[in-house]
Symmetry: C2
Amino acid sequence: MVEEGTTTTGSLAGRPHVVIVGAGFAGLACARELGNTEIDVTVVDRRNHNLFQPLLYQVATAALSPADISEPIRRTLGRYRNIKVALAEVVGVDPAAKVVHLSEGEPIAYNKLVIATGSEYNYFGHDDWRAHAPGLKTIHEARLIRQRLLLAFEKAEQTRDPEEKRALLTSIVIGGGPTGVEMAGAIAELGHFMITRDFRDLAPEHFRVILIEAAPRILAAFPDDLAQYAERSLEKAGVQVLTNTPVEKISKEEVIAGGQTFRTGCIIWGAGVKASPAASWLGIEGKAGGRIPVDPDLAVTGMSNIYAVGDTALGMGEEGKPLAALAQVAKQQGEYLGAALRTKLLEGRQPQPFRFHDRGNTAVIGRNAAIFDFGTWKMKGRLAWFLWAIVHVYLLVNFEKRLLVSIQWIWRYATRQRGARLIDENAGIEVPASTERRET
Amino acid sequence: MVEEGTTTTGSLAGRPHVVIVGAGFAGLACARELGNTEIDVTVVDRRNHNLFQPLLYQVATAALSPADISEPIRRTLGRYRNIKVALAEVVGVDPAAKVVHLSEGEPIAYNKLVIATGSEYNYFGHDDWRAHAPGLKTIHEARLIRQRLLLAFEKAEQTRDPEEKRALLTSIVIGGGPTGVEMAGAIAELGHFMITRDFRDLAPEHFRVILIEAAPRILAAFPDDLAQYAERSLEKAGVQVLTNTPVEKISKEEVIAGGQTFRTGCIIWGAGVKASPAASWLGIEGKAGGRIPVDPDLAVTGMSNIYAVGDTALGMGEEGKPLAALAQVAKQQGEYLGAALRTKLLEGRQPQPFRFHDRGNTAVIGRNAAIFDFGTWKMKGRLAWFLWAIVHVYLLVNFEKRLLVSIQWIWRYATRQRGARLIDENAGIEVPASTERRET
């Protein structure tokens, strides 16, 4: 019953073997470029799916389902018969022996190694805050936030204590970057509409969303006028924006920031990322938040046969400035490296150095409100929001997802209702102590 | 900011108060009939969503997302300003004081009480089997099965031990009722296609699905010829059907049945249901699997102001035969009771007794194979499968879900690919010891 063409593609003698660790934007783009070539490729990831992180905040706010924005890695790469996928956790690299060590099972030998392990939230030394204030990097965290948000409303409906009700109806988002702004805007929309329509004992004026930022203004990566527009839009949507307000303490039901104490039903962390701990596998010192310095061809500086791409790599832009940890950087680096490895391994030529092409930076605040910064020109408002929606639908992995997400967005735009308001049944659901443990 | 029309509808003096426990097919249908009337209604459920159970097997086999088949109860009932929803667990009823006791918070007083708490899987005294062989009643269980199924394939791809590989690629479904048949057929389709396309070190001939049934034939509720057709279709899809094979023991990786020992990567239980424990709240003896005997008007026999509908009620059909625990019975009983309570409470008239209208019985085996039994005439094959799909899309709660599910089915029919192949990231996920604990 073995079909024709389904030969097992282990490391056949003579064929070079590229191992890619991490199947995010960078890793997948790299693997695709190597698909159906005379190179053996193994993609290792501790999850079985690739996640479209830019829309994860919509899962957390009950607008989309996890499967709408995640795709099995095997499904994406299944068409390439030279690519193997392994669900495994990498725990170390031996550059001398050219092997990758896994937490379980035998080590994997490589000719070329690509590290594309991404980033995680940085709690700046307060790792105990993670349990109370999950970030938005995994589906598990998005579900956890959705769970806490919806449960807080349910509890608020039931309690008779007005103080308690007020606290449960207060959501706090920490960090005024794009994720924080998107979350705050989305929670405000969800809450206002749900209270008005679906609850009987809650008043919209008791519902609060507070966005806390330590810096003097939100959206530091954007020009001042766009950030100001975003702040005004958030406030119009009912979000209280507190700048110059560093967080001092987070516990289960309380945030202390800027000397004030806020009681809350749901806390979300979006205050900064750091690179994955891949630098330590290589025995090198990460820079700028643990990132691995790379040469213009994305080879890890000072090492041979090892490359790093995406958030975990510290690449340099045109003017010698470090490239930001953005999806478009990761994707372009992955594509570049895949093509470069092909050139190198199959044709023996040295590739051109990597050059980043800035496609513009965007953040969405809510219904009819988004900002776009293309460097030379800028956009905001309804048109920017529309463009944001089109771009994000287009970036989804296949036609089915595009259709499913479009329909849900159109439906929601028309009705303001959210489809995925599921409170999970497993009450024991807890955020992992560290994203570093195996998450299967 | 309180909108006009959003008055709080507590139990206003003079207005009767109907409390409905459980928002499944029966409870929701009953609530809808009472919507926007001069009756105060409170719907209590320990989950925040209503689940379309007939398609839960598709969540378990990665074809649909949980949110595609579940709808927030508040969203369904939000339009009726006289209906309150409470996320709470009922732990008892005091018929003398006419109150319902909750696990947390104050008791709820009622004038009329409707019990619609459904059924759960029956492990026939072997409750320790539940952890190894989850049933298909909740989203949590469906996710758990999906998780185990997909993880077994991933582990099989990695192991070099051929015995282990074989065991991991063996799925066992216990119980040859509609759920068991649907699950077995769906796993067979998923596995064969995934192995051929997306895995490199697995051979389709090592993949096995075994359907185990203690009785002499599967689908006892269907006519013999339809059951035979289903068995043939299952075998054509690669399912091994073992009848006359009672299960003796279930452990984590093994099933002993009919004297044989089967090593397996995933076990699913579909071997029989029992009523929810609501009978014990009323201090009465449940019959035929814990069901509450009801009079022709669905009032609990021997009690006043308390009604029971759906799987948890033991109603009688035309010829004095007990009605089956089916969605259509539940829905019809709920609709009847809602209308009857309206008649009784608002007009003071006595309603006609309940009469069940049989809409036919169906089961789906897989792609192009389903059976329909309408009593007088029967259907099987591709046309039955097509009708099954249309009926089930139609039965979904709103236009958005219908569209989303239709698109995914058409996509899957064309490509054979499954979209929701997510392995959850929370490794600690475990089936609850009993479905009776609060599942939030």
